[in-house]
């Protein structure tokens, strides 16, 4: 299945854009997606365990089952304010 990954913070630098398309097996979880992305870059592999994942306005756990067409947001550690 095809999904879309929205890259925030430094994940954009590792994945080369704000939005990327990813192809996964038809049965896949957030964990499977993160494992696939981790294989692309060693630095990203270190960061991903510290990234939360959201679909729409909801945070989802690593066990969440993905569906074709999902837009999955990768949220690295945050640092708003001053």
């Amino acid at each position: 299945m095809e999904i879309t990954v929205q890259c925030f913070g430094q994940t954009r630098d590792y994945l080369g854009g704000k939005v990327i398309g990813v192809t996964l097996h038809d049965v896949a979880t957030v964990d499977d997606l993160l494992a696939l992305l981790a294989a692309r870059d060693a630095g990203l592999a270190e960061l991903l365990p510290h990234c939360a994942v959201a679909i729409g306005e909801d945070m989802v756990p690593r066990t969440h089952a993905l569906h074709a067409g999902d837009e999955v947001a990768l949220l690295p550690p945050v640092n708003g304010g001053c």
Partner: protein
């Protein structure tokens, strides 16, 4: 500044936030303004760029405001965070708490700013005088990790 949005890509106004939260029954108005500084970790900063997962950040800031209103029993608690490119001296975040008395107002304004910094998907990229940039180390949103 809209009285509603919690994220703005235009300059912030503490006065407008004070006007929007005015109440005759509150004897205290505690405010906080976070301002871009010209250095961090010994390096000279030229400017910052803030980005956010906007829908989620809007939702979480409103949830945090409500948590703080209930926890500290304060009737008004509002935060607005700036996005986009900011120069040294620009306001990055403004917060207002109105309460009956100063004690809970001071406590609540500190709590709401801390919570926004730690829990809302906003990222700060610092740009330095040598032309390089980096994302500031932050707080994980992964459940159980922060």
């Amino acid at each position: 500044m809209s009285t509603d949005a919690r994220l703005r890509d235009t300059p912030l106004s503490l006065d407008e936030l004070l006007d929007a939260t005015e109440r005759p029954d509150c004897g205290a108005a505690a405010t906080f303004t976070g301002v871009v500084r010209n250095h961090n970790d010994g390096r000279d900063v030229t400017h910052l760029i803030y980005t956010a997962h906007t829908p989620l950040a809007e939702k979480l800031i409103r949830e945090i405001e409500e948590e703080v209103r209930l926890k500290f029993d304060v009737p008004e608690c509002r935060v607005v965070h700036r996005l986009g490119e900011l120069q040294v001296g620009d306001a990055a975040i403004v917060a207002v708490v109105r309460a009956g008395h100063r004690g809970e107002a001071f406590d609540a304004v500190r709590a709401v700013v801390d919570a926004v910094k730690h829990r809302v998907p906003i990222w700060k990229e610092e740009f330095f005088t040598d032309g390089t940039s980096q994302f500031v180390e932050g707080c994980s949103l992964v459940e159980g990790e922060s």
